[in-house]
Amino acid sequence: MKHILIALLAFGAIAAGQPQPTSIAIRNAKIVTVSGPTIAKGTVVLRNGLIDAVGDNVQPPGDALVIDGEGMTVYPGLIDALSTWGIPVPAANGRGGRGATATPAPTVPAPPPARGPEDRPQTTSWVKAMERIQANDRRIESARSAGFTTAFVFPTTGIFGGQGSAVNLAGAKTEDMVLVPSLGQYISLTVRPGGGFPSALMGYIAYVRQIYLDAEHYKLEKDAYDKNPRGMKRPEYDRALEGVLESKRILLPANRWVEVERMVKFAAELKQPVILYGMREGFDKRATDYLKSTPVLVSLKWPVKSPNADPDDEETMKTMEVREKAPTAPQALKTAGVKFAFYSDGLDQPRDIQRAVKKAIDNGLSREDAVRALTLSAAEIYGLADRIGSVEKGKIANLVVTRGDIFDDRTRVEMIFVDGVKHLPAPEAAGRGGVPTENRQ
């Protein structure tokens, strides 16, 4: 027994890169708590994976490994509020696109095209992201090196993609990483070609509507049966509806302002707590007016002109306006009092994410609000502000320590703490990934 424990500890230490002290204290550092005022020079004490103490007159305990934070800034670990990090990218829909040798291996015959909602098309509502996450996904290390310690990862294929899981971005295996198994249901209304129902937006919306009607009925039937099964035919098990009933909130897509209005009304009709994601036209008053108490996730993938566009093509004013104004959406949402967080939307290079956030700052968002949108606001939107999102006593010890302001170009991430375990940024963190970012400058 003891041997196993030692072995496990040793393993953890290897994973973390150095022996783990029971307690760590970072002193003389600037501490951006997010939940409260910034501490110009103070100490953070971590113990048992939690924040044990934070303040300007906190003394490092005797057993603590003390890190001198002189010239450094401590932030809460960043949170990607809607992520796919860790879920393997299916080869079929990777960069190859249409025509590439991208058909999935023919081990399973393709299902026949769906004829209607009864066939539960494009639905994997029962899947939880944590079941799909691979701890060794290179994007996890890459994101962590950029200061991300938590991601709300969702399965995003299909209409009902599945349930998101909150995971910390470090761990030898996925189970170590899971904070919350189910955050809510990811719903996509992107019309995809390919046979079967639904094939147009009206079908997509009608399908989602039908699923919630079915789920309501299913629940009544099940409850009645559970109360008094004798003499009653058991309700047929429907995993699609089980998955929907398990989800405590839904994520709906809304990029254009009309979609904001549509989706807010739709969620009310479905009687589901909702988070809207996308928000490309979040700068538009017609969008913010509708939002009020609805929280939103703003994509950090700002619209850009397609590199494949013909240089002679004249773009419409609308296209150019949206491209120009999309990065002003965060500040507009802030001004309107809408709760918002950022999400990576496919970006996984630290530098790309950093630039994207910088763009919002350059378009009027304060640095404080930018940090908040990537930390506490994200936690609040998912109801996890009691455990992550700020540097507060009792919260999970997820921190990022930098030299310089976190979104500045020259800033270096010095170290990252996940569950109180210290990690160093990957040596070549800035340039990892398929395309060396240096070359693109």
Binding site: N93, G97, R98, R192, P193, S306, P307, N308, A309, D310, P311, D312, E314, T316, M317, K318
Partner: protein, 451 residues
Amino acid sequence: MKFKQESGARNQKSGVLAAAVVCAASVFGAANDTFFIRGVDVYPVTAVKMENVSVLIQDGKIAEIGAKIVAPKGIKIVEGKGLRVYPGMIDSGTTLGLSEISAERVTVDTGELGEFMPQLRALIAVNPESEHFPVVRANGITSTVTYPATGGRGGGGGGSQQIIAGQAALIHMAGWTWEDMEINRSAALTIQFPSTAGGRGNFAADFPEEFGGPQQSYADRKRAYDQAIQRLNDFFDAARQYQKERSNNAPGFKKDLKMEAMIPVLDRKVPVAVTAQRERQIRDAMAFADKQHIRIILLQPRELLKVAADLKAKNIPVILGRTEALPENEDAAYDQAESLPGLVFKSGVKFAFATFNNEFSRNLPYNAARAVAYGLPADEALKAVTINAAEIWGASDKVGSIEKGKWADLMITNGDPLETPTEIKHVYIKGVDIDLTNKQTRLYEKYRNRP
């Protein structure tokens, strides 16, 4: 003579239309392409109007126009009092006779496969019995340029994009056979100029790349574009080499239909109708024409105004599409399509109108009319559907105006043919009085008489 049986049979059947066809009936006598229009106002298009004059049509051609001419004995006489005579209109671009129902593959005979097919002639594929002809004729349109379509749509699809689809024909819109209908069998060689557009108009274009949308990079498309232009030039160079060998009677010379079809083009006897949309495409097409020393006609050039001065300088005519059209994009002026012809006229570029659509060909005069409301002089609008087209398509000695010696492709109306309330009383093609009943009038009568 040629249409006697057909027209007669129809007249008997359509008794309900007796009032409408009473004049037509009176024309049947001896030869049905010889008659005399008395006391009518003539709008020759190429000259000022002549009021209260008579027109003698003999053997399908205009023999005499004047106030003092007398009707030969025994000739059929058409009373023209209070009516007007105009030349029949010409639609400078359709696939009439080649395509019946575009959605029905077996009725579409517009195209072949293969990148360069100059030897193909649209004329011989024209179906004189097309239901479209009577509908279009009823509005006073007597001729059209019918194009072999590109892209192999009629040839089963697939394969590489066609660049040279074949020869467009200028035809009368009536005749027993295609031979009867011919005005100019080689009105133009058609070239679909290469394009860098990727997936424009393709349904998949709206999808992101991972769902089958456009994914080819611009650099790749540009390379393919440059290569296609190179192949086009190579093809012309080969044709020129062939021509040289042919005239020198070089040993081992082998006759080749493709190359034979190119010779009139190289000799500038047959122009090339080029489909080019964007400014760069148009300029590249003009450079190509200069290099190959050929005559070109531009079809529906979208960015025409950007190159108008050069087109004028090089004397390149253009065919304009429908003015009853939406602006190209949401930022364009609401009257973009309507105003274009007036602006083109001001720039001095020669132009004619086309509908580029069989179903809307009958609206040709209203497309011209709309341009008038937006700045095109009315007489120029009329020219653009008559004499300009005849000149552009190499048939100004045969059709397009009311002049001695031309085919009697005419319409008799009670007003300006560009005005919608105007009634077309008679249409003559090669002097034959055309029965104006058609599918639309038959349906009209059928449902009017519904119990």
